[in-house]
C-alpha cells in the first residue's frame, strides 16, 4: 500500500490521500480564505477566527483525541480481555453496565461534573472523552473474543498452548478486525465530541465553533466545523488502511 506503488488514477481517488490534502489545505490555508468569508458574511467585523492558529487548534484537538482514545483502548481492551478470561468472567456484567453508563451519560454532564474536581483545562475533557470511547472498545473486544470458534480454542488448549499463547497467537489475531471496528467507532465519536470539550477550556477545534455560537459569528462556526469534518474523514480512511494491514498481520 505504498503511495509510490499506486497508479495515478488510484492515487487521485484514494480517500485517505484526498482527505489529507483537504485537511492540510484547510488548516494552513484558512487565513487566505478571509476575503471569501468577508464576502459571505459582510455584516461581520472579524470574518476569520484569529485568536488561535488553526494549526495549533488542530494539533491540540488531535492530541486530545489521541490520548483519550489510547486510554480507552488500554482500559477498555484490557477490561474486555479480563472479563473473557476464566478468572474474570464474573465481572462481565458489571463491566458492560459501567461502559454503557459511560456512554449514555451526556459528555457535557461529564465535563460539568469533572470541572469542580479537576478545574478548567484539558484534564476534564480527557476524562469525559475516555469514558465516552470506552463502550465501543469494551463491547467489540468482548464480542470479538467471544466470536473465536470453540473448536479452535479447544484444539489450541489440547495442543498445549498456555493462556498467554492462546490470547496472543489465536484469540487476539482472530478478534482483531472486530476490536478494530470498535476502536474506529470510538475515535470517530471522539473527534466530534472533543469539539465540545472547548466549553471547559480545552483548546480544540471546538473553540471557534463555541466562540462563533456565543457571538453569532457563523463564519467561525463554519471554519471550525470544516476542519473537524476533514479530520474525521482522514481518520476514517486511515482506519480502512489499518484494517487491511491488520488482516495481513494476523495471518502472519
Amino acid at each position: 500500500m505504498t503511495v509510490a506503488g499506486m497508479a495515478p488514477r488510484e492515487f487521485l481517488t484514494d480517500r485517505l490521500i484526498l482527505g489529507l490534502v483537504a485537511l492540510v489545505a484547510l488548516v494552513l490555508g484558512m487565513p487566505s480564505l478571509k476575503p471569501l468569508f468577508a464576502t459571505l458574511y459582510p455584516g461581520l467585523d472579524r470574518p476569520l477566527y484569529e485568536a488561535e492558529s488553526f494549526v495549533r487548534l488542530t494539533l491540540d484537538h488531535m492530541a486530545l483525541v489521541g490520548i483519550s482514545s489510547l486510554a480507552a483502548i488500554l482500559l477498555g481492551g484490557g477490561a474486555g480481555i479480563a472479563v473473557t478470561r476464566p478468572w474474570g468472567r464474573e465481572f462481565r456484567g458489571l463491566l458492560e453496565t459501567v461502559a454503557t453508563m459511560g456512554q449514555t451519560f451526556p459528555p457535557v454532564a461529564v465535563l460539568a461534573l469533572a470541572v469542580p474536581v479537576m478545574g478548567f483545562g484539558p484534564e476534564p475533557a480527557l476524562i469525559a472523552l475516555t469514558l465516552y470511547a470506552l463502550l465501543p472498545v469494551v463491547e467489540n473486544t468482548v464480542a470479538g473474543l467471544d466470536g473465536v470458534p470453540a473448536p479452535v480454542l479447544d484444539s489450541a488448549r489440547g495442543l498445549g498452548m498456555g493462556p498467554a499463547e492462546m490470547l496472543f497467537r489465536v484469540e487476539l489475531p482472530l478478534a482483531a478486525p472486530v476490536i478494530l471496528a470498535g476502536v474506529r467507532t470510538a475515535v470517530i465519536i471522539n473527534v466530534g465530541t472533543a469539539a465540545i470539550a472547548s466549553t471547559v477550556g480545552a483548546k480544540t477545534l471546538g473553540l471557534p465553533i463555541i466562540v462563533g455560537l456565543n457571538g453569532s459569528n457563523q463564519a467561525y462556526v463554519i471554519q471550525g466545523a470544516l476542519i473537524v469534518a476533514a479530520l474525521a474523514v482522514v481518520i476514517d480512511a486511515g482506519f480502512d488502511r489499518l484494517a487491511i494491514w491488520l488482516a495481513r498481520w494476523s495471518q502472519h
Binding site: P151, S155, L159, G160, L174, Q251
Partner: protein, 314 residues
C-alpha cells in the same frame, strides 16, 4: 502406557465417568465407543487434562498426570477433534508446526517435518503448504488436523470422533491411512467413536462405555462373539453380523499354508469379508494368498470362511 484407576468425574449431580479403570498398552490402538452421554469423550479429555478428574488416578508410563504441567503433558500428545479446529488465520504449514513451534524446534527441522507429514497424509506439499484452512475440503482439513497432531512425534494420539463429520468415502480412506500410520509409527492411539464398524475396523481393542461405566473392554473378535451385555450386542447390530465377523480376521489367519493355487493372489492382511467378496466376484471357491513380500502363503477355501474358529459364533 495409559492407566486409569477408579477415575470418577462429576458435573454437578451428573456422574459422567464412574469409577473407570483400564489400561492402554504401549502402541495399542484403543477405541472408546458408547452411546452419546456415555462418558467416552470425557475419558479421552481427561487423558490430557482438558477435564480434571475428581477422584482416582490417571498415569502415563507410571507417572501421575496430576503432577505434570498441563501444557507440557498436552505437547507430548496429539489431539484431533471432530470439528478439526484448525487455526483459520494460519497457513497449513503454520498449523502443522504448532506444537514443534511451542517446543522450540529449529526452523529447518520444522519445515522438513511439515513436508514429511503432508506427504504422509497424501497432501502435495507444493500445493497445500501455503494454503489456508478455508481453501481446503473437509477431508483435507482433517488430514491437516491429523498431521498437526502428529507433528511433534507424540507417543500418544487422542482422537475424538475425528472422522464422524466426513463423507463415507473420505472417512474410509482416512481410516486406512490412520491404520497404516499407526502400524508404522507404533504410536498409542485412543480413539472415540459412536460407529461400531469404525471401531471394529480400527481397534486392537474396544472399550464399550454406558452411563459413565466401562461395560466391556475386549478385542474386536470378542466384542462380536462374546458381547458382555445387551447394549454391546445392540451396538454391534444383527445386520450383516457375519460380514462384520469376517472383517475382524485376515486371510492370513485362515489360509491353508501348505497348498498352492493359480490366479490373482490376495495379500495375507486382507480382511476376510473382502476375500468372500472376491470369491463371489470371481466365481471361485479357492484363492491363492501371498505374504507381505509377495511370496506364496497358502490358499483360502470358501469352507474356511464358515468354519467355526476360536471365536465361536454369535
Amino acid at each position: 502406557m495409559i492407566e486409569f484407576e477408579r477415575v470418577t468425574k462429576r458435573f454437578g449431580s451428573w456422574t459422567a465417568v464412574d469409577a473407570v479403570s483400564f489400561t492402554v498398552a504401549e502402541g495399542e490402538f484403543r477405541v472408546l465407543i458408547g452411546p452419546s452421554g456415555s462418558g467416552k469423550s470425557t475419558v479421552l479429555r481427561m487423558i490430557n487434562r482438558l477435564i480434571p478428574a475428581d477422584e482416582g488416578a490417571i498415569r502415563i508410563d507410571g507417572e501421575d498426570i496430576a503432577s505434570l504441567k498441563p501444557e507440557e503433558l498436552r505437547r507430548r500428545m496429539g489431539y484431533v477433534i471432530q470439528s478439526v479446529g484448525l487455526f483459520p488465520h494460519w497457513t497449513v504449514e503454520r498449523n502443522i508446526a504448532t506444537v514443534p513451534g511451542l517446543l522450540g524446534w529449529p526452523k529447518a527441522r520444522i519445515r522438513d517435518r511439515v513436508t514429511e507429514l503432508l506427504e504422509l497424509l497424501n497432501l502435495d506439499p507444493r500445493r497445500y503448504r501455503s494454503a489456508y484452512p478455508h481453501q481446503l475440503s473437509g477431508g483435507q482439513q482433517q488430514r491437516v488436523g491429523v498431521a498437526r497432531a502428529l507433528a511433534a512425534e507424540p507417543r500418544i494420539l487422542l482422537m475424538d470422533e475425528p472422522f464422524s463429520a466426513l463423507d463415507p468415502i473420505t472417512r474410509a480412506s482416512l481410516q486406512t491411512e490412520l491404520s497404516a500410520i499407526h502400524r508404522r509409527t507404533g504410536t498409542t492411539v485412543v480413539f472415540v467413536t459412536h460407529d461400531m464398524d469404525e471401531a471394529l475396523r480400527l481397534g486392537d481393542s474396544i472399550a464399550v462405555m454406558d452411563h459413565g461405566r466401562l461395560i466391556q473392554c475386549a478385542s474386536p473378535l470378542d466384542i462380536l462373539t462374546r458381547p458382555a451385555s445387551p447394549l454391546v450386542r445392540d451396538l454391534v447390530g444383527r445386520e450383516e453380523w457375519g460380514l462384520k465377523r469376517l472383517a475382524v480376521e485376515t486371510v492370513g489367519d485362515r489360509a491353508r499354508r501348505q497348498e498352492s493355487a493359480a490366479g490373482e493372489p490376495l495379500a495375507a492382511e486382507t480382511p476376510l469379508h473382502r476375500a468372500l467378496s472376491e470369491m463371489v466376484a470371481r466365481g471361485t471357491e479357492r484363492l491363492p494368498v501371498v505374504d507381505g513380500d509377495g511370496r506364496p502363503a497358502g490358499v483360502l477355501h470358501l469352507s474356511d470362511l464358515v468354519r467355526p474358529s476360536t471365536g465361536g459364533t454369535a
